[in-house]
Symmetry: C5
């Protein structure tokens, strides 16, 4: 194999399994902890930067949702993990932003990994690695950085009217995944719009710059990467629906089935867009070829008409002593007439070939 | 990823699960309710715009079919849903026109979603999101708007002779799905005709406009979208045949098996057309290349014959003092003869290459 | 979707399930019934046009094979169906020539649908929709029209020596399917020959007409259609081998396994030819491009050699008063020599580029 | 479908199931029988042309391997089949050289079909249809013609040291299949070398003849045909490992698992080569296009430089009475200078476009 | 089939199953044995070239890891195999460097084969065939040559703090596989970088050399070969997790599940890169076509403008006696003006076609 290492070193240190290594974008923000405690009667939300506050899981018929932002704070996350008795490999996966979506069942909690895709304030598509620990009456979520898609969910928890205040941590887990999947719909809608726009552009554009194949190539890679971030979640939700962990209420299963149905719809859309993007390149190539055909026809018509005429003019530009035609009275006019006839015949020929 | 939000905002409000949001085409038509009550002896059909009339489910050995048109009337549909004890997520799916075909089993009823494809009065292919609630002795159907494929079915119910008057709501459910699938056959037949027409067009057309790739691309997207609307119904009917809900009579299963067989036939046709459409682009590209080849040959023949001749004429158009050929008696005629020989040799050469 | 109805109307009447509608080619031939009764000792064959003769199923340890030709005779087929207690949906499928191959098990008989492909007298490939009802001691076969692949089978039944006279209706069913599958082999062999012929044609042909892509496209569609007619029979035979209907003798299963093995071989051949046909288009495109390359080289060599020479001749054809070269004694000869040198250098250049 | 019969007749006689029909290459060689009897203590090998010698199965704790060459001798093979109580359908498959690899289990023996691929004396790849009957203490192998890959195996049986002398017929069956699969490795190695050679050829060759696409197309068909001959054996060996026939010793299963592992490796290699061959055509097309691009650039540079210069020369070759430039003293030199400037500017232009 | 043997002989000697044949790169290095004995309290590492030292498996609650480098030393490896009671087929696979990854379960040990991919000192990607025997309290690993990815693992064993010192041979087996899989990540990361670099190169490069398709083709083959080396390990780890061999501790299964999850992630990345590499060729072809279009436009514009003008100049370069225009006073200037008008009109025409 001719893969050679470039300047960059790909030699990795083989770390002990369970060693935590943050692989996301560089950031130095401190850990940010958001704690919500609620049941049918009460609601309380707190914010903190101290790790100890993340131990603040009340119990007493309350659901506790602790959200931790800032995966770069490995030490702090390890401390939280020790408190909640997380497996070392779970801790490794929480901070490994390359980890693919998956679900692990432990005796007292579930561990779920997924990718959060959403449009941030500046309308830039953002992909965030999110981990969720689901216990009997508490949920921990770990995010790479601040900003997420859960604000509407928090509002619904705050509101006394919502169904969510009547239900346990299992329903909260569902509601969090539902918010994630709902945002996938908006991402693929944006993607569909982008494909349509590019398709229109291909048909209308006239220059043959490399900008268009560049854009198609970028779309191809986007659809492959989005696919990779989203598809494994389908299997995760399917297995979640079939888990026999004890704190999952029966009536929550109706909701998980609906969620599964939604993620299948997302996946079908992605595969649809995938085929569309792939056929864009074929279409673009066809249109380029069509244009080249047009160019060639213009050249061929011009050259085929004027090259023979130029040859004839060249004949009578020769300096032979004895060229009787040159000395006839109407030779010049007869020749011009003959040239006009040739010109018209050529036009007819190309018209019959439908090139004109 | 370089997906950036355009002017349009893709930021969605993450609504509480079960929140009803109509996503179909804008319309303000009032709800339109059609109620048919029948058994072997009696038949009655009523029409209403009042929601309360949709509660009009007789029982008494009668089958009741209540058809509701106008998914934009969210309030009214919610009222009906509460009366028939539908799950909030079911109500969300009834009005969500993007919902993919599926089947949900509840204790007392089935919920089935499918897409109705048919040619409306103006022969325009119409796609409608339809939901069906199947109870022990009643059926509710929800349509986006007026117009459907059930008129022949209604006539058969009205007629005293039909098998359907002797059977229960489960057979009516089958008959409704059968009408849907029968219409799929007409849609794919129209699609097949369109492919054949385009194929003929590709072989006959002479211009290299972008109209043809545009049409092929549109057909590609159509086949992908029809596929997506129809394929999940195959699984729905398969699961319907295997459900153990108590009000499904044994002899109805023969009919459901036949329906399953028909939807498989539809799906096979779609995949056949899909491959045909894909190969259309390849064929079109080949034909363009063939044409360009023709163009190039004409240019090459014209240029290869006359450019050397023009050069020779140019030689004898030079003004050197000492060019003995110019002063020979038959120089001009000898040269013309030599040029004719070259001309004929070139023709022979191109003939041997089979370009002429 | 931009599918619009053309002049033709695709609006279908949604008929009652079980309504018989013949969809094959127009014909008005009367029904033609062929009845064979046999056992180890006796053999009798009768022919009739009267429906009542099709009820002529003896029993008494005899096997009865009733073959009915002429699916356009809906009335008569319905009468036969009522006598043999066929399901209404079975009757619908018997006359629906678009029905895909399938097997339905009923309490007292099997219903098997398949496509008969064979070369008729004029060597035209013919596709016929055939249905078979298999009872304890009788078989009904329904064909679109006269002409089939069973003549050798009938001869073997007539001959006293054949194994078939010793066996029951289940072995006759096998023998009929075996005759069908044996003919598939001849069809795909013809197909393979056609591919090889076209491949040879592509390499040898010199014109770039659209005839070749047209033929490749037709082969593509043929292979897809043959595939669709044959592939479902594989599943039919597989299920036939696993059915637990009581009149299937154990030793017939060895024969059904062999049949299954043969149909798999047919399917593998079809998929092989399919890949070959698909790669024909790629190869044709490559060869066109190769030819265009040849054309371009000829043009480029001719133009690149003579255009500069013509320019030089043009220089000395100018009429400036002061052009000293024109008045030197050997100017003309020196120039001719220089042109010859340029000519030879160009030839060397193109030779080095391996264009010559 | 537009498949029409050509001169050749594809009408087949539908023979009785179990009718033996040899379909391999024409040959009239007599049957050749090779009999090996061995156990731990004794070894005896005999050769014969008389069918009766093939009945020579000793028993008495001896393993008997009877190899029969010459499938064209239908009569003789039928006689052997009757002696060993083979099923008529088995006899049909033994002489049908088109039969795909398969395994059939009977009460007292196994029937295994496979394809022997090997390089014969003249280094030509040979494909032979081989059948094997495996009984409790005997093995029959049927080959199309003389020559096989079992010589090393026979030597090992002859040698007193080999493990094979200690084991039964089941191990001999394994050893025969192992010899077959070992030869597949050499065939695919030769195939891989051929691909590499062609790939190198594509990059180095300069002519655009049709020889290369022809070779690629041939490789494509070879890989498809080899695939078809080998792939079904994977399933055969898998089922062989799971059969519960009584004469298969437990410790032979370790060997069958290893064989299964080897055939999977062969299949993976074939699929790898398949993808490589497919991408060769794409690469070849790209390289042709690259070459055409080179050709076009040379033409464009030559024409774009000299056509305008020729035009200018043409201007001053006109015979107008009043053309003051012609009569200036340095007109000619100024013009030559101007032409040189244009020439250099054009060169710069094409250099900037990186065409030079 | 037209596969013919080349000079090289593909005729293989069919060796007795279990015959050891080294097929890796030629080397004559002596066997090199590295023995590590450890438990929670003690650690000892020895190095040797004597085969007998490889029998040095202590037992006594110690874990023994014996690593053997140098598969060319067939004799020595056979000796070791006899001592540890390895199956002859296992010994054959240990030295067969072409063996695909697999797992075999024996009564007292597991046999696992995999490929070690890593960047050696000189940053060259190295692929090594590695076999591992896992017993109750010992592990044997066999490598082709010196150099591996286990140095960090050995350090962790040496360190008294690591988890590994507390665990048995089953955990050591996991740790070895984990080191292998961790290195796969670095290999595919290097691969991804190479794809991106080539993609950038395609867009920026201007020459149409064959270097780029050559590189794409090489990448295609690399991705296929890496895929083949890595993919089977996924199934190996999956089966390892499900084996019921007695010396696998329950808590090791959590680690094996994590390992399985990691190998799936590697496989998904490979398939992602695979699709990217495939689409590189399409993109490159599109960009070549775009460039050719540019070239053709330049040629067409130059030729279409100057060929007609040259013709006009040719007209007035003719030597007819009677050409009145030649003798008018401003004829020359009028003609120059007319030519300028034609020139400008042509420019406008090409501008309107957006070619300029
Ligand atoms: Mg690690
Ligand atoms: Mg990633
Ligand atoms: Mg965040
Ligand atoms: Mg939702
Ligand atoms: Mg994926
Ligand atoms: Mg829903
Ligand atoms: Mg393509
Ligand atoms: Mg929602
Ligand atoms: Mg409607
Ligand atoms: Mg129907
Ligand atoms: Mg779909
Ligand atoms: Mg039917
Ligand atoms: Mg119908
Ligand atoms: Mg017929
Ligand atoms: Mg047969
Ligand atoms: Mg099919
Ligand atoms: Mg057979
Ligand atoms: Mg293609
Ligand atoms: Mg036969
Ligand atoms: Mg064959
Ligand atoms: Mg042989
Ligand atoms: Mg072997
Ligand atoms: Mg195959
Ligand atoms: Mg092996
Ligand atoms: Mg291609
Ligand atoms: Mg061997
Ligand atoms: Mg090593
Ligand atoms: Mg790891
Ligand atoms: Mg593989
Ligand atoms: Mg992990
Ligand atoms: Mg392609």
């Amino acid at each position: 194999m001719n893969l050679k290492k470039k300047k960059k070193s790909y030699k990795v240190k083989n770390l002990s399994p369970g060693t935590m290594a943050y692989r996301g974008k560089k950031q130095t923000t401190a850990i940010s902890i958001d704690i919500i405690n609620y049941n049918g009667d009460s609601y309380k939300r707190e914010h903190s930067n101290r790790v100890e506050d993340a131990f603040n899981h009340k119990g007493n018929d309350q659901v506790t949702w602790i959200n931790i932002n800032g995966l770069n704070n490995i030490k702090e996350i390890e401390t939280i993990g020790l408190h909640y008795e997380l497996h070392p490999l779970t801790l490794e996966d929480i901070v490994n932003t390359h980890q693919r979506p998956k679900i692990d069942e432990f005796e007292n909690h579930l561990y779920i990994v997924f990718k959060m895709l959403y449009f941030k304030d500046d309308d830039q598509l953002t992909k965030e690695h999110v981990s969720m620990i689901v216990g009997k009456d508490y949920i921990l979520t770990f995010q790479e950085a601040d900003g997420d898609v859960f604000d509407d969910l928090r509002d619904r928890i705050n509101s006394t009217k919502g169904r969510i205040r009547m239900r346990g941590a299992d329903y909260l887990m569902y509601a969090i995944l539902d918010a994630i999947v709902d945002n996938y719909f908006s991402v693929i809608e944006a993607f569909g719009d982008k494909i349509e726009e590019l398709e229109r552009h291909i048909f209308e554009s006239s220059t043959s710059s490399n900008e268009t194949p560049n854009k198609i190539q970028a779309l191809k890679q986007d659809v492959l990467k989005i696919r990779r971030a989203i598809f494994p979640l389908r299997e995760v939700i399917n297995r979640l629906d079939k888990t026999d962990i004890n704190f999952l209420e029966i009536k929550t299963h109706d909701y998980l089935k609906d969620l599964h149905d939604h993620i299948i719809q997302v996946c079908e859309s992605i595969d649809l867009y995938r085929e569309m993007v792939w056929s864009l390149m074929d279409m673009y190539m066809t249109i380029i070829n069509n244009k080249m055909n047009e160019v060639m026809k213009v050249l061929t018509i011009m050259a085929s008409i004027f090259i023979p005429l130029t040859f004839i003019a060249g004949i009578y530009g020769m300096n032979f002593d004895h060229m009787p035609e040159l000395h006839t009275k109407n030779g010049y006019y007869i020749l011009l007439g003959a040239m006009a006839v040739i010109f018209v015949l050529m036009l007819f020929y190309f018209r019959r070939k439908k090139w004109l």
